[in-house]
């Protein structure tokens, strides 16, 4: 028994040590710095809550929160609709369904920066060329207005994550017992009724997972944001993570940025904990 305990700690120690050094230490340091006037090199005075008060009065910070929430709502809805649609499509008995699965999942394997630059090219040059050819003015000048910047980001995010969410829905769709569907069919349910009345309720637990995955992903988005719009035009598409980065490394207000980061952390933590709570509750119910 004792032996087991020692070996337990021996195995845990390296990971614990690494975690302490690279996660816990910086985290608590950062938390502390957010109450000071730290400039990245030295902290001289303790400011208390001053940074936090300033953060809540900072219109750019508030704008970025608003933008992030708007972005999260739009992309959650679209990612889930598209993800479920794709999942239904590839679980049909068609020959190329495996190939399709791979293709739909592929965008998720490309790094966010590369994707951002590819889509920047598509939006700016591709859309423009098509728009000129077909004389559709709304395809021209993408990413140069706040609205197109917003939708550009949403499209990119949906395109990237729909495939990932699709995989989750597939697993639930496939676990729907075949006999239920068959029974419904024998009872004369048509294809839509079979989907909405039988499959859909059974797939519902997948919604919780997908919802929170997309939600926390949308909140933490940074690289796509950086590559596609870099916050432009005029800072209108700056998401939370980017706003914090810019406060720290463009304006060099390190402690202030740190306090924003703590607020950001609390936001994301609330989302994540709610997810855990809801999932646990569901598990009990099932």
């Amino acid at each position: 028994m004792r032996n087991k305990e020692i070996s337990f700690w021996l195995f845990v120690l390296p990971a614990l040590f690494a975690l302490t050094v690279v996660v816990f230490f910086p985290f608590f340091y950062g938390f502390y710095y957010s109450f000071t006037d730290w400039n990245g090199l030295t902290a001289t005075t303790f400011l208390g809550l001053e940074n936090y008060i300033a953060a809540f009065q900072d219109s750019r910070f508030k704008d970025s929160i608003e933008f992030t929430i708007k972005f999260a709502i739009a992309s959650i809805i679209l990612v889930n609709i598209l993800g479920l649609g794709l999942a239904v499509l590839v679980t049909q008995k068609i020959k190329i369904s495996n190939g399709l699965r791979t293709i739909f999942f592929m965008p998720n394997l490309i790094g966010g920066l590369i994707l951002g630059f590819i889509w920047q090219f598509i939006f700016i040059s591709g859309f423009d060329a098509v728009g000129r050819l077909l004389n559709l003015p709304f395809l021209q000048g993408w990413l140069s207005t706040p609205e197109t910047g917003f939708w550009g980001l949403v499209i990119l995010n949906v395109w990237q994550y729909a495939g990932y969410i699709m995989v989750i829905y597939i697993s639930y769709l496939q676990s729907v017992p075949e006999e239920l569907v068959e029974a419904a069919e024998i009872d004369g349910a048509n294809i839509f009724q079979r989907f909405w009345r039988v499959k859909f309720p059974l797939v519902a637990p997948a919604f919780t997972i997908s919802l929170f995955l997309t939600l926390s992903n949308a909140f933490k988005l940074y690289d796509q944001n950086l590559a596609l719009t870099n916050g432009g035009p005029f800072g209108s598409t700056e998401m939370l993570a980017m706003e914090i980065y810019k406060t720290a490394f463009f304006r060099y207000e390190m402690a202030y940025a740190q306090s924003k980061a703590v607020i950001f952390f609390i936001l994301v933590a609330v989302v994540a904990l709610t997810q855990v709570y809801v999932n646990k509750k569901r598990e009990v119910e099932l």
Partner: protein, 445 residues
């Protein structure tokens, strides 16, 4: 059985960790034994046992290879000094990583700062370099941003300048003499002329304004009409509590002209589209850029780069007509916390780079810098844009680069963003100035 497998796996992983740990140790050891060897050699030849290691942390990615080559040459001549160079991204990435480097305690001996704003930030790290030869040879005004009470904290990298870069062939075809375009009227007249003929010249538009690049708007364009307000003096700007935008009408006019004659929509145009896709391929006749675009244009079209382009200043009405903004983008500084030997070695190296014959050759031919020091052969400056810049610099017709001395982030983050709003009709010109003034005053309180 199962437990055994787990144990074996865990053991294997631990082993791998240990191995990697050892491996890096081995590398270090071999390094230090190398040094030891060099050391021993030194003791024999010079009777000097000390082996000084100097870490350089620099930002200019474009000349990394040439710079390392120069250092190799220097180390051959001076065997008791060991240099190691780290090059980290351009612009903001460098500032951020330098900061974390400093905070981690792993401080380099030689690094770069941009001007008075960073001087203030790193003051306790900086050594006075006024006793170096290079400092005494630095051209008038180039030390302006790093000089304080007789102490010189930085040595300029080089000079750079920006203005309107034009396509000589197109100007010739339309019949415009670029040197006469010193006023707004003349410039607008010329642009209208080009605009009328743009179809037969194969142009998309007269010029390309990359308004998605905040530095093009907020740093460069604005500075042309801000610097004169501060007498072209970086330090005056650095100490100013407020900004009055004395020449804002001209600033607005320049922005409007560029917007009017540019490829649209300006807000999605970026630097690479402006320089590579549009200007280098002859689809626009004029762009507002600096001498640093030369290597890019050269890559696209060698002949066009060396014979087909020239630079003129943006128009300015009043005292500074036909003046080009010339400045020092970055300075070399030496860390005060290093040992005395390291500081001396660093000073010797910087002196050697800018004042010895080998160093000068490198600065002109390999780095392709516009020298910021006396005693260089001006005819050997590599490209036509740099020659234009040097011409204005020698004639004293220059405007300072005050954007290194504005409140942190003000030029890009505040003014540049406001310009973008103005260009897309989200705000009026007066509101732009109001917002910028207010932010300046708040940061300088």
């Amino acid at each position: 059985m199962k437990r055994r497998v787990v144990l074996a796996l865990a053991g294997l992983i631990t082993f791998v960790f240990l191995m990697t740990g050892c491996a890096s140790d081995v590398v270090n050891e071999s390094n230090s034994s190398d040094n030891g060897g060099a050391n021993a050699g030194n003791t024999d030849s010079n009777g000097n046992a000390s082996n000084v290691e100097v870490d350089i942390y620099q930002f200019k990615v474009e000349f990394r290879d040439q710079f390392e080559e120069l250092i190799r040459l220097y180390m051959e001549e001076n065997e008791n000094v060991q240099f190691s160079v780290q090059t980290v991204g351009g612009g903001n990435d460098y500032a951020a990583s330098l900061k974390s480097q400093m905070a981690s305690g792993n401080e380099p001996v030689i690094f770069n700062i941009g001007g008075p704003t960073e001087l203030e930030e790193y003051r306790e790290y900086l050594t006075d370099l006024s006793d170096t030869n290079a400092a005494s040879l630095a051209l008038d005004g180039t030390l302006n941003g790093v000089e304080e009470n007789g102490a010189v904290y930085g040595l300029p990298f080089a000079q750079e300048g920006y203005g309107l870069i034009y396509n000589k062939e197109i100007f010739e075809q339309v019949g415009i003499d670029a040197t006469t375009l010193t006023t707004f009227e003349a410039l607008e007249e010329a642009f209208t002329k080009i605009d009328e003929k743009k179809d037969e010249l194969g142009l998309d538009a007269v010029l390309a304004l990359p308004a998605s690049e905040l530095w093009v708007l907020g740093n460069h364009l604005a500075n042309h009409y801000i610097a004169p307000e501060f007498d072209n003096n970086i330090l005056t700007a650095f100490e100013a509590d407020s900004i009055s935008f004395k020449y804002s009408d001209q600033m607005k006019r320049m922005l409007d002209i560029q917007n009017k004659y540019s490829v649209q929509p300006v807000l999605s145009l970026d630097y690479s589209m402006q320089v590579e896709q549009l200007f280098s391929t002859g689809k626009v006749a004029v762009i507002q850029q600096g001498n640093w675009i030369y290597p890019t244009v050269q890559q696209m079209d060698e002949n066009f780069a060396s014979n087909g382009i020239g630079m003129i200043p943006m128009p300015f009405e009043g005292e500074f007509e036909d003046h080009l903004p010339v400045g020092v983008p970055q300075y070399w500084v030496v860390n005060q916390n290093s040992s005395d030997e390291q500081i001396q070695a660093a000073k010797d190296f910087l002196d050697w780079m800018y004042t010895s014959d080998t160093g000068k050759d490198f600065v002109l031919d390999e780095f392709k810098f516009i020298p910021a020091y006396d005693g260089y052969d001006a005819d050997r400056i590599a490209d036509p844009l740099s020659q234009d810049v040097y011409k204005y610099s020698v004639a004293g017709q220059t405007i300072g680069w005050t954007f290194t001395a504005t409140p942190v982030g003000w030029n890009e983050d505040v003014l540049g963003t406001e310009f973008q709003k103005y260009l897309s009709d989200h705000t009026s010109w007066d509101e732009v100035l109001e917002a910028a003034k207010e932010n300046w005053e708040n940061s300088r309180q």
